[in-house]
């Protein structure tokens, strides 16, 4: 029997899956390359595979930030999950990675725990480099794949087929990368508090993200997908692939990063390449808000929940 404290982690995983899955298969759905139910099943499947096969690396980073007990792990997950939900309600882009780190800091500070600033520095550097790396990946991938496609004697139908297969593969790959990178946000605190073995934490985390993917609305997937497809199908495919590469890279590094910020970076890279301004002040504000605002909200919520738990 699993303890009730795990419920906040499952809730966090659900919030993560619901929040991030639109970025993964949205363009494929909007371009009609993949049907919604196929996308949901594929996304959920590859998220679980990614979590189980490669998710363990992030657990160490989450666990190294501060000391956690089962209760503080529960509070941390709940605060991070609520942060994501609140931000979704007020239609602000939420990053689960930034929410969980904020919540961890909140709990750590309030409980006068030692904060490992070396690990925190590593996390902060990864956050800042995520959009930059996605932009670079988009730039390079765009050039390389264009060289290959242009060298092939392809007609309009073959090119269409390449793009659709590309959407499909990039979607599966990004879902795998999301699982590998972000599962630590979901159950990392339970590994740190010695409640779960890494393999079980990866499995439970992956399944709870998949639950979030299943509860995702078709309408939002279309909206997010169309925003990316508006670039042009090839650029949208490159954007998806760059997200996958970037998030997967940070899965190897072992630092959970924001998939939404990887999207912004990839779109920026495409914009630079095409000489089009794809990023405006509002988007820059949202990135900065993700880096600063999200952790602050999570810290505040973690404070409140810790106080409440002390009273109860």
């Amino acid at each position: 029997m699993l303890p009730y404290q795990l419920l906040s982690g499952i809730y966090m995983g659900w919030a993560l899956g619901r929040n991030d899955s639109s970025n993964i298969f949205g363009p494929a759905i909007a371009s009609k390359s993949v049907k919604v139910h196929q996308a949901i099943i594929l996304c959920a499947f590859f998220v679980i595979i990614g979590s189980v096969l490669q998710g363990a690396a992030g657990f160490a980073t989450i666990g190294s930030l501060t000391n956690l007990t089962l209760t503080t792990a529960f509070i941390t997950s709940l605060a991070a999950g609520l942060t994501v939900t609140c931000m979704n309600l007020v239609k602000l882009p939420a990053s689960t990675s930034q929410a969980i780190i904020g919540a961890l800091l909140g709990v750590g500070i309030l409980k006068a725990q030692k904060i490992d600033f070396l690990s925190l520095d590593k996390v902060l550097i990864c956050w800042v480099t995520t959009p930059l790396m996605a932009a670079l990946a988009a730039y390079i991938l765009y050039k390389i794949i264009a060289l290959i496609i242009n060298a092939l004697p392809v007609n309009i139908f073959t090119q269409d087929k390449i793009i659709r297969i590309g959407f499909f593969c990039a979607g599966c790959y990004s879902a795998y990368a999301l699982g590998a990178n972000n599962v630590a946000n979901v159950t990392g605190v339970y590994v740190a508090s010695s409640l779960l073995e890494p393999w079980l934490a990866a499995l439970i985390g992956g399944v709870s993200i998949a639950l979030g993917v299943f509860s995702y609305s078709k309408k939002v997937m279309f909206t997010v997908g169309k925003r990316l497809v508006a670039l042009d199908p090839y650029s949208a495919f490159i954007t998806m692939l760059s997200i996958g590469f970037t998030v997967h890279f940070f899965a190897f590094v072992g630092v959970p990063v924001s998939i939404s910020q990887a999207v912004i970076g990839a779109v920026l890279g495409i914009g630079i390449l095409k000489g089009v301004q794809t990023i405006n002040l509002k988007i820059l504000f949202l990135v900065l808000f993700g880096w600063i605002g999200t952790p602050l909200i999570a810290i505040a919520l973690a404070f409140c929940l810790t106080y409440l738990s002390a009273i109860i």
Binding site: S33, I149, N155, I156, F157, D160, Y234
Partner: protein
């Protein structure tokens, strides 16, 4: 993997069929115009006119089937839009073939001896422009040749046709024909010359599709 691309294969086959039907319509129109210009035979019962009408209707039916299948979620929206634009613009040409035949027939248009050669040249040049654009479309759809070369040749033909059209109208109005006959002939000349204009319009759509796909 083949089952995954069933819809595409069906569309590709239908487009090929449609283009072949356009070719048939062009050949029948050519034969019909030759007969009407050289023999002044513009009977409504003429078998050739019926044949032109038949192939035009068949091409129309095929185009509708292609549109239906394209809207039925085959291909990404951008490819779908480009293919539909190209086919819809191209489809005006067989319609024009049919209209010219009926016009010649219903208005009992007789081409006087001095203009016969001019009319034949005008028809042939226009049909050549159509043949080139037909090749260019096949190039885009099946990558059989350089599309931009063909589009460029269509533009050249269109300029030539414009000159022939102006010369022919000038000759008609300089002749002793009645005002009414002159006006009828001018209208026919303009309608025939429209074929190369339409071919050029298809060329423009093709160019857009190609440029959009340049990575």
């Amino acid at each position: 993997m083949n089952f995954l691309w069933k819809k595409e294969k069906s569309i590709i086959a239908k487009i090929e069929q449609y283009l072949q039907e356009c070719d048939t319509c062009r050949d029948r129109f050519h034969a019909c115009m030759k007969k009407m210009i050289t023999m002044n035979n513009s009977s409504a019962e003429d078998k050739l006119i019926k044949l032109v009408h038949e192939s035009e209707s068949k091409a129309d039916d095929l185009r509708r089937e292609i549109e239906y299948e394209l809207y039925n979620k085959a291909l990404i929206p951008e490819s779908r839009e480009d293919i539909l634009n190209i086919l819809e613009t191209l489809d005006v040409i067989p319609n024009t073939f049919e209209e010219i035949c009926f016009e010649m027939c219903l208005e009992k248009i007789q081409i006087s001896a001095p203009f016969k050669q001019g009319f034949l040249t005008l028809v042939e040049k226009n049909l050549h422009a159509f043949a080139l654009i037909r090749e260019a479309i096949a190039g885009l759809f099946y990558k059989k040749m350089d599309v931009m070369d063909r589009i460029h040749s269509v533009d050249q033909y269109e300029s030539e046709v414009d000159k022939i059209e102006r010369d022919l109208i000038g000759q008609v109005f300089a002749s002793d024909l009645s005002k009414a006959d002159k006006i009828l002939l001018r209208q026919i000349i303009k309608n025939i010359a429209q074929i190369s204009d339409l071919a050029q319009a298809v060329g423009d759509k093709l160019t857009i599709a190609i440029v959009k796909r340049r990575i």
